[in-house]
Symmetry: C2
Subunit: 394 residues, 2 copies
């Protein structure tokens, strides 16, 4: 198990700005903002909630692109890492694409210097036409790189096997990685090559595994050699054991049916840290998996798309600071997310009890998703569960 | 009527490269490559023809971005001007968007210096979030600016009134202009503000009018003050009369029903040059409109989308060079366009006569569009016209 390393108290950062220890600390610490499941375009036709997904993404990008202030460098990050389902729809509307690109362009393009290097074969990591990490393209001023895998909502499809994330990639606004080509016969075979990142003395191997149908990936993990994680070769000054290994994936984590989810114990033990996308409940504090040697963060969605208790918990993103083979997590609350409260009421009481903000639920004796709007702009949604109702999956 | 000005013979350009007259000529001459109706994504599901629209657009961009060579500066242009229907579909597929952005990114982003200025209020010309001409954004290296209006295929729609061209605009790859907001009551009212362009002593006012339903625009043109073209105010060193006035529009030009087309005589006489999009027949050589004082070029589509005789003529784009109030047109053939031959045969002879390349037409006694592929890769298409068949409009 990795230990959290202790940073100096941030409140004294400003006062020791000329201290060489501090500068050494900064230049060797990779700072990543981690978020997932932004579901851009969710409810885009709803009069009230159409802006929700964009507001949350705007807030995430603002946190990531926040520049060094006199009194704090709290959120100044090297890059933003996304765990899939950036888009809610496989074919986002023009409006959603325009808004997504607009937000990324405003936050990611600037003069901020990039203080890390990608030292792996970029044509393997980013196998599109341009084949390199976006900040190295001399025709763009990328100040905030974004790395993203795809989720199940924005997975690649069609003759060209393109995801909506490919549109952001060809715009040079997102470094899209983790798209697998399922080779081999039978269950298939995939090889996951890491993006190798260096910042000073810190070396991070970033593995991405874009969403694959859970049943299939489950079978693959249980088939010898079907899922291969390539380890970095020994590089100048870095032993294989010194890489801090991160995996980003977007799969079911816990399900009643274990064939329809990925068991944490399937993952290789050399990994140090897992970013688990797809599950919308915010369990952002890294949890140790006993006996596996890695920690898992599950940031959860930045917009509630399912009527489940998990979505009602406060939403956060994670500031992940890595120095050498230690890391420190800091959870950052998202303040722009529409409040969501979840209660369960006995069915017979629905029409009597669900009175809120001066308005009533529309109820249905057949069960299902019901919603109404209150005079003060809150949106009330509910499930009338008459038994057998299958709640929407993320 | 404007006179064509005489350039020195291009073949001697290299030899007089140090000649001050030549340099003065170059620095005062605005060079525009004009194309239209590229219909990106046309037939994208057809096994053979899916690449056609992209190949032609690639060729157009290659001509526009061709750099100064030792022996010729023939096609080195200041910008590319498109007359609408860049996309075939109102909601282009992921694949079409990715390919379009890829082509534009490869050709438009480079270190080529921009040698003209946009001196009008850019927030009026480009009223999107960023509100300025793309090469002025310091975060992009734009070497080949593209200016485009929308056509009837990629016209704005939806709650946000967005066109597919807006996606290219927010990517900063295209300067999208000529989107009108139809104000006023009844037939509506539009005001067309020009993009004012200066290059040395040459001043060009570029008016754009994205497609409006023909019947409506026809009525507007016949309603007093419903269509207003704003003239530039006198600027330092340029009188109003010295601006060379170009209009780009995308409408039916000639139709059996005059209510469903725009009569050339509707257009204001202060215009000097018209780029007419939408009509697919290549009539690229500028034609004078008697009594109106302007010339019209109709470049035609770069991919054949209709089974009409006009589409079978060789496709061209236009190099338009403007110096002061004179211009010189040079038509440039497109060599990548799939050959298209058009013949009409008496109906009774269809099945006997349309034999080509070792293959036969599939024919239909009910009439309609028929096609087949020959052994050598040619695509044969035809209309079996049994009377009353309405040929596809562009």
């Amino acid at each position: 198990m990795k230990q959290f390393f202790s940073f100096l108290d941030r409140s004294v950062f400003v006062f020791i700005d000329n201290n060489s220890n501090f500068r050494e600390e900064i230049s060797n610490t990779l700072r990543i903002l981690v978020a997932t499941d932004c579901h851009l375009g969710y409810m885009e036709k709803d009069e009230i909630r159409r802006h929700d997904s964009f507001q949350a993404f705007e807030e995430i990008c603002s946190i990531a692109s926040q520049k060094k202030a006199l009194t704090s460098i709290r959120y100044q990050v090297d890059f933003l890492l996304l765990g899939g389902d950036l888009f809610h729809e496989n074919k986002p509307s023009r409006s959603t694409l325009v808004k997504a690109i607009e937000i990324l362009r405003r936050h990611c393009l600037n003069d901020q210097p990039i203080q890390f290097q990608v030292v792996s074969d970029q044509t393997v990591n980013f196998p599109d036409t341009f084949g390199r990490v976006n900040y190295e393209d001399p025709n763009f001023n990328v100040g905030l790189p974004v790395f993203s895998i795809h989720g199940n909502h924005d997975d690649p499809a069609g003759v060209d096997n393109l995801s909506a994330v490919d549109i952001l990639s060809v715009c040079n606004l997102v470094n899209y990685f983790g798209k697998m080509v399922l080779g081999g016969s039978g269950v298939g075979q995939i090889t996951v090559y890491p993006i190798l990142i260096r910042k000073g003395s810190t070396a991070v191997a970033l593995y991405g595994l874009g969403n694959i149908r859970d049943e299939r990936l489950n079978r693959m993990f249980q088939t010898p050699h079907a899922v291969q994680f390539m380890r970095p070769e020994a590089q100048e000054g870095v032993q294989v054991s010194e890489w801090f290994n991160i995996l980003v994936l977007h799969q079911n984590r816990i399900k009643a049916n274990p064939k329809n989810a990925i068991n944490e114990h399937f993952l290789p033990r050399f990994l140090d840290f897992i970013v688990w996308g797809h599950e919308h409940e915010c369990l952002v504090d890294p949890q140790e998996v006993p006996g596996m040697g890695f920690h898992i963060t599950q940031p959860g969605s930045s917009v509630a798309t399912s009527l489940i208790d998990g979505e009602s918990k406060p939403k956060h993103v994670l500031l992940l600071e890595i120095k050498g083979n230690q890391y420190r997590p800091t959870k950052i609350p998202l303040t722009s997310v529409r409040p969501f409260e979840y209660t369960e009421e006995p069915n017979s009481l629905v029409s009597e009890r669900l009175i809120h903000g001066g308005s009533f639920w529309r109820t249905s004796t057949r069960g299902g998703d019901v919603s109404t709007r209150t005079a003060n702009g809150y949106v009330l949604r509910g499930v009338v569960d008459c038994g057998g109702y299958d709640r929407a999956s993320p």
